[in-house]
Symmetry: C2
Subunit: 333 residues, 2 copies
DNA sequence: AACTCTCCAGAGAGCGCTCTCCGAATGAGT
DNA sequence: ACTCATTCGGAGAGCGCTCTCTGGAGAGTT
């Protein structure tokens, strides 16, 4: 910013052409005489010209940047969901492929939500991606109404009809429970995720579905996807039903907590109680015992989301991408 | 973007004043008659006016956004450093306090680096923060030369003189080794981090310093901060010196790997081999046994970095912030 | 040879905003 | 009553770019 950067005008002067011509060259229009094009290119090179993006987006009404909005309440900000980082990185590198930038926005508080809304209204971004929405978040709807493309990572609450990329939470949970059934477990409990998140709801649904098919009773405790909540929930479960011989935990972080609680309670895993998690975070591979869990395709899901936000609605094949999950059997079940 | 958003002009017309006056009100200048101000405010409200940022930054040459550049080679992108996410979140919320946005950029490849350079040259950002730099990254220097404020999370390689916020890696490592010495260990090895990163270098230096003071021999293996590299390094160490009774590992991820390798080799921790890690990631609390490690203030460090990039050089008290570390003693040593 | 058609570069009008003058109106001073 | 500050809103010139429209030159047609 310090010293003046060359403008289109300067390049035009140096190449002895008009601004319009330089603009054409810069934007790769075909209708330019090769000789003139070369001259312009040389001038650009010599001057070290880089187009000013503000000026450009003022007229094109395009910003080449997409917001990634993380609707995470402040309390959870510091409990590290390891997948979060993977999503960010995938989205970022995927977007770079299309020459777009990622603008990261936290929307954990009311104030922050208003900020995001104003920001988008201010025309700063060409699209918005939501990650980790809770309940009936009004923000996506508000933004969609402004005519800005919106997508969600994970299926949003039913009220809003947004395009989204999700994994098959219901199917994955059912898969986990069926595995537990297959290895002969009879009293299968679950530690569910927060019920204001669709992921939490769906995994509970999958658990219930699988159990209903086999006529078993469901035993449910609810956590909030953090490890400590897993510890607490497991303890409650053990109090409620000391006879349980298996537990399906709605995410690995809580499963790790459950493993700890189980150990403290003197239960052996998987001998006394089998445990299946969900997510297949890296840590799942080196818990004691290594965690059997449901893996879902984070990278593919993030990629699908990016594709959705970049594709105009009329060109989309589908608005709802659902990716399959896979059971990873280790030692805990 | 879809339908026309109201402009300054429209607000001016509605409030029966000139554009200039509206601009004054929007930017909070004092020299506006309260009555007129109210009228303008009402018009803004009624029209739902939000200033167009492109137009504004075209004339002010300010963008209110700061780039967060992650110079991580693609190979490491998918090995989740849990702290990475914490840094991102802290930076983001800290920046929001000053009304700035975070633009996340990956700079793992040559091509990506060039992209970042062009982007910054294009005047998109008011400042750049670097995270996780390797070796003598030319990018920060190039950007600093353009007159854009640059800071680094962690001390950069000596060649470039950038403002930075770092933790006391040398001191922390020394602290860890001294603890090992205190509990009576005699053959203390280390698994060092990548030597093209200052953090890796400094922690090795701290290890060597502490050992030299006590006249012990150093035993070094080098990893790359990933868990698997910790496994490999630990195995090598065990081959090189089967008698070792302690190991200081340059980060927790590798320490977790080392713990696994040790278990596989039939060594008990801490009885046979004491292990100390570095970082105090959440997982360190629930390894088996829980990991003794060096905690450093990630949030404070990120906050300090943000403060540096936002403060003009002439107003800065210091260009180099170094935060103290703390040894967290658990069961592994 | 006169005409039309195509191709391609230049002219110039904005995009929405900020900010520096300017000038009108008000109040104080003589 | 008249002059001189002083306050505060308006006019208008850009900021750097895109893009439509225009017009000149050369090629093709009759």
């Amino acid at each position: 910013m310090g010293d003046k950067r060359p403008t289109l005008e300067a390049v035009a002067a140096r190449a002895q052409v008009s601004r319009a011509t330089v603009s054409r060259v810069v934007n790769g229009q075909a209708t330019v005489n090769p000789q003139i094009r070369d001259a312009v290119l040389r001038a650009i090179e010599e001057l070290g010209y880089v187009p000013n993006s503000a000026a450009r987006s003022l007229v094109t009404r395009q910003t080449d940047s997409i917001a990634l909005v993380v609707s995470e309440p402040p309390t959870r900000v510091f409990s590290d969901d390891p997948l979060f980082s993977l999503v960010i990185r995938t989205v970022s590198s995927e977007l770079e492929l299309s020459g777009k930038q990622v603008i990261l926005m936290l929307a954990g508080s009311q104030r922050a939500q208003a900020r995001v809304e104003d920001y988008v209204a201010g025309g700063h971004v060409d699209g918005v991606m939501f990650v980790s929405m809770h309940g009936a978040d009004p923000l996506p709807g508000a933004i969609a109404r402004m005519g800005v493309p919106v997508v969600s990572y994970g299926r949003p609450a039913v009220a809003v009809d947004l395009p989204y990329a999700d994994n098959d939470n219901v199917g994955g949970a059912a898969q986990a429970v069926e595995h537990l059934l297959d290895i002969g477990r009879r009293r299968i409990a679950t530690i569910a995720g927060p019920q204001d998140m669709i992921g939490g709801q769906d995994r509970l649904t999958g658990y219930r579905d699988a159990l209903r098919m086999s006529d078993r009773r469901s035993i449910v405790a609810v956590g909030d996807f953090t490890r400590t909540s897993g510890v607490t929930a497991m303890r409650h479960l053990l109090e409620d039903d000391p006879e349980l011989d298996a537990v399906f935990v709605a995410n690995d972080l809580m499963a790790i907590g459950a493993l700890q609680a189980l150990r403290q309670a003197g239960r052996r895993v998987p001998d006394d109680v089998a445990v299946v998690g969900f997510d297949d975070i890296e840590a799942a591979g080196f818990t004691d015992p290594p965690l059997t869990t449901v893996r879902h395709p984070v990278v593919e899901q993030a990629t699908a989301m990016v594709k959705l936000v970049l594709t105009p609605p009329e060109e989309r094949e589908t608005d709802h991408v659902i990716l399959p999950t896979e059971l990873v059997v280790r030692d805990s079940a």
